[in-house]
């Protein structure tokens, strides 16, 4: 087969987008839910040490789905940028919005200029002093940036999970209710398979949690939640 002499930009972009979307859909889902005390993030993750959800800064969490090495690179770059901004200015001056913009710029550039786009989707969550001040930024493989409210879903059968949450979500939920909601939504998407503590990764941003509001749940904590 001879390679085409000319390929239209639309074709190239569509091919890349399909490639990225397929890659992300092959993986597992992740859900972030705003609840009474902050933001809870639950991911289906069979690994106990390769994390999808991490602390980025005092009030900011980084969550991702897709190719691990690709989103790890982005995560570390984000931690560096956040720490440098916080050090050069002050800790309050680091915002999820600014970081989300840099990520969007970055992913957009990679999508356009690299042979292969990053098969990742990112979520930056920032917990505010009140529920209204919470922020969630969803960044897609091509640099599209979306502002989310209430809950956000990424990866795997995202549409199914989102549909479930759409019907069930309420504001100001207690943590265990929020967790149960997220868990059921994830299970629904995975042909109603029951998820156990060792296939889950759970973290939260606790509004009342001291300076560093990110807290990761260990296996025991997850067992207690279940």
């Amino acid at each position: 087969m001879t390679l085409p002499f000319y390929v239209s930009p639309e074709q190239i972009t569509k091919d890349k987008a399909d490639f990225a979307r397929k890659g992300i859909a092959r993986g597992r889902s992740l859900v972030a839910v705003e609840f009474r005390d902050g933001i809870l993030i639950v991911a289906e993750n069979p690994s106990g040490s390769l994390y999808k959800i991490s602390e980025l800064y005092d009030r900011i969490a980084f969550a991702a789905v897709g190719r691990y090495n690709e989103f790890e690179t982005l995560r570390v770059a984000g931690v560096r940028l956040a720490d440098m901004t916080g050090f050069a200015n002050s800790r309050e001056d680091v915002s999820a919005r600014a970081l989300a913009n840099v990520y969007a710029q970055q992913l957009g550039t990679i999508f356009t200029t690299e042979l292969k786009p990053f098969e990742v989707e990112l979520l930056l969550c920032e917990v505010g002093d009140t529920a209204d001040d919470n922020e969630m930024y969803h960044i897609y493989y091509d640099g599209t940036l979306e502002d989310e409210a209430g809950f956000a879903v990424m990866g795997g059968q995202a549409e199914l999970v989102e549909a479930h949450l759409e019907g069930q979500y309420e504001v100001n939920l207690h943590m265990d209710k929020a967790f149960k909601l997220a868990l059921r939504a994830l299970e629904v998407a995975d042909s109603d398979r029951e998820l156990t503590a060792d296939s889950l990764e759970v973290a939260l941003l606790d509004r009342n949690g001291g300076r560093r509001k990110f807290r990761r749940f260990d296996a025991q904590d997850i067992e207690e939640l279940l």
Partner: protein, 317 residues
Amino acid sequence: MTISRDATSRNSAGSGLPGFPDHVDATASFFELLRTNRPELLSVSITSSDLEVPEGTTVLALRFDSGVIIAGDRRATEGSFIAHRSIEKVYLADSYSGVAIAGAAGPALEMVRLFQTELEHYEKVQGSRLSLEGKANRLATLIRNNFNLALQGLVVVPIFAGFDHRKGCGRIFKYDLTGGRYEESDYHAEGSGGRIARSYIKQHFHDGLGEVQAIRVATGALYEAADEDAGTGGPDLARGIYPTVAAIDSEGFRAIPEHVVAERFAEVLGAERESKQVAFSSPKAAGKRRGATGGGRSRGRKGDQKQAGDTGSGETK
């Protein structure tokens, strides 16, 4: 931000991610990151060394049964003037360690801030904390980097102390100007009043001190240093300014509340006053007073007091 059209033309020293900071290698060192990207945020170089910079201090750390106490006075001096009455010299480095600084205040505070960020940065990037010795080494690197400034008079010499979960005990590290790191098994004090504080602690330290006793020894040492060294501030009762004291044990770094420090100082001052009055009062009154302040504590001075031949009226305070 430059958008490169060709992946291979990217600067190999960069992170390959424009918009994000460049990184030199795979270490999770925030300090290296700053050096590569924002060197101007690190120590500045000066040419003149006849500057009046705030200094003068006593800071100390001492081990007790379940951890370490780290403490420092509140005075900063500029030559013979008091530059600051309530400067903080004891800082949390991370949840299980603390650093107390002696030397030029400006560079010292920057070093603390950099050190705190360095430790947190490592933890976030790597997903796990540095060992206590690793943290001590990182601090040594920062001090080494300050060497040029130190030669020009802006010396920063910290004491680093923390709880080592692996060994299950508190550990203390001291440094010299060149970044040399030495571990002290029991206690250390630094600053213009350091030697005085160390003598005091030497007399009162023993293995198995409880937390309350250890705080009392720390406050006593700072009081002694303030008494002898102009650069060290004693408790300012008029303004309610007391030395900063923190305890670090298996639960973490914990600042000791001011009223608790004040109580320990009151005990120290009470013993001081008493030791100066015993010589002029009756043995009976002296005995009563000694009992009231608690006989369990050992104080070098009391052993030297005259037990007989007292004259004068029995003054009670």
